[in-house]
């Protein structure tokens, strides 16, 4: 594939996009694991939400 005289600009555009999307995906996945871990810890300690309590 020949990207011509402006190959640097094309590669830079794709690199920026990949970096931003990868950062977004990593943030979402790490945040999900963190929230699940904290919820698990709280449930282990017997903390429940008001809606989970029996009347």
């Amino acid at each position: 594939m020949n990207l011509g005289p402006h190959a640097d600009f094309i590669v830079a555009a794709y690199a920026v996009t990949v970096f931003v999307v990868a950062a977004l995906v990593a943030w979402v996945v790490l945040d999900y694991w963190a929230q699940r871990r904290i919820l698990g810890d709280l449930e282990e300690r017997g903390v429940t939400r008001r809606s989970q309590r029996k009347g």
Partner: protein
């Protein structure tokens, strides 16, 4: 199932957990097809190979605006019906929309240098898109700095509605003012002006990026619901400790 049932956070989480794997698979497949078509697309007769930047720039521009549109609709849900899931949807769309607006501005700048001879000009389209990015950052700042989440949500909802004025300005800026940016060439009266050899990969990439946006949005909404559960449980724990002492 009535539509209103989807607005129950617990039921929403169940649905998201079922839908997400399919959305991720569809996104990956569409990106594989789209990137293959983009790599093998012919050069433009004027732009040369830099036309390949368009396959990123156009979807990012559309999703930057789509994200704000989504936040404006969610803002109505927050302010009028005070539904917590509406606020969750608005808050989740903000970082994703900001990221796509940033991609739009950066790729546009990298396309502009070889094509126009400059990275940036203060023309109406570019400036209104930069304003959109600043509005996104403003909404994120309101969410992140509010001491009381409800107050932050209402302030962000108001800014989302006010900022929606910028969407038609972005869209019609190329018609209302004399700009360096070219006028609409994909979705326009009388059909697209782009050759099918370039239009097909562009549409596939747009669909792939839109699915990516939807996937990320649902995943961030799920995270936000879990975060609110954590906050609620911590408040309950603190209340119990206070009552015990």
């Amino acid at each position: 199932m009535p539509v209103i049932d989807f607005a129950n956070p617990t039921r929403f989480l169940t649905i998201v957990n079922r839908v997400l794997p399919w959305l991720i698979a569809a996104t990956v497949v569409l990106f594989a097809v789209g990137l293959f078509r983009a790599v093998n697309a012919p050069d433009d007769y004027q732009q040369g190979a830099t036309v390949k930047i368009m396959f990123l720039h156009v979807p990012a521009a559309w999703l930057g605006m789509f994200g704000w549109g989504l936040m404006s609709i969610a803002a109505l849900g927050t302010l009028v019906w005070r539904h917590p899931l509406a606020d969750v949807a608005g808050k989740a769309a903000a970082p994703i929309g900001a990221a796509f607006t940033f991609i739009c501005l950066t790729t546009g700048s990298l396309w502009g240098r070889p094509t126009w001879g400059t990275y940036w000009v203060w023309d109406a389209r570019l400036t209104s898109m930069l304003v959109l990015l600043l509005l996104y950052l403003g909404v994120l700042a309101l969410y992140w700095t509010a001491e009381e989440p409800g107050r932050g949500a209402r302030a962000a909802a108001i800014l989302s509605l006010v900022g929606a004025v910028n969407l038609p300005i972005i869209k019609f800026s190329v018609d209302w003012w004399n700009t360096l940016h070219q006028p609409a060439s994909v979705f326009r009266m009388g059909g697209s002006k782009i050759d099918p050899a370039l239009l097909t990969p562009l549409l596939i990439m747009t669909l792939a990026f839109t699915l990516l946006f939807m996937t990320l949005h649902l995943a961030v909404m799920r995270n936000e619901i879990l975060r609110r559960r954590v906050r609620s449980m911590r408040l309950m724990q603190a209340q119990e400790l206070a009552e015990a002492t």
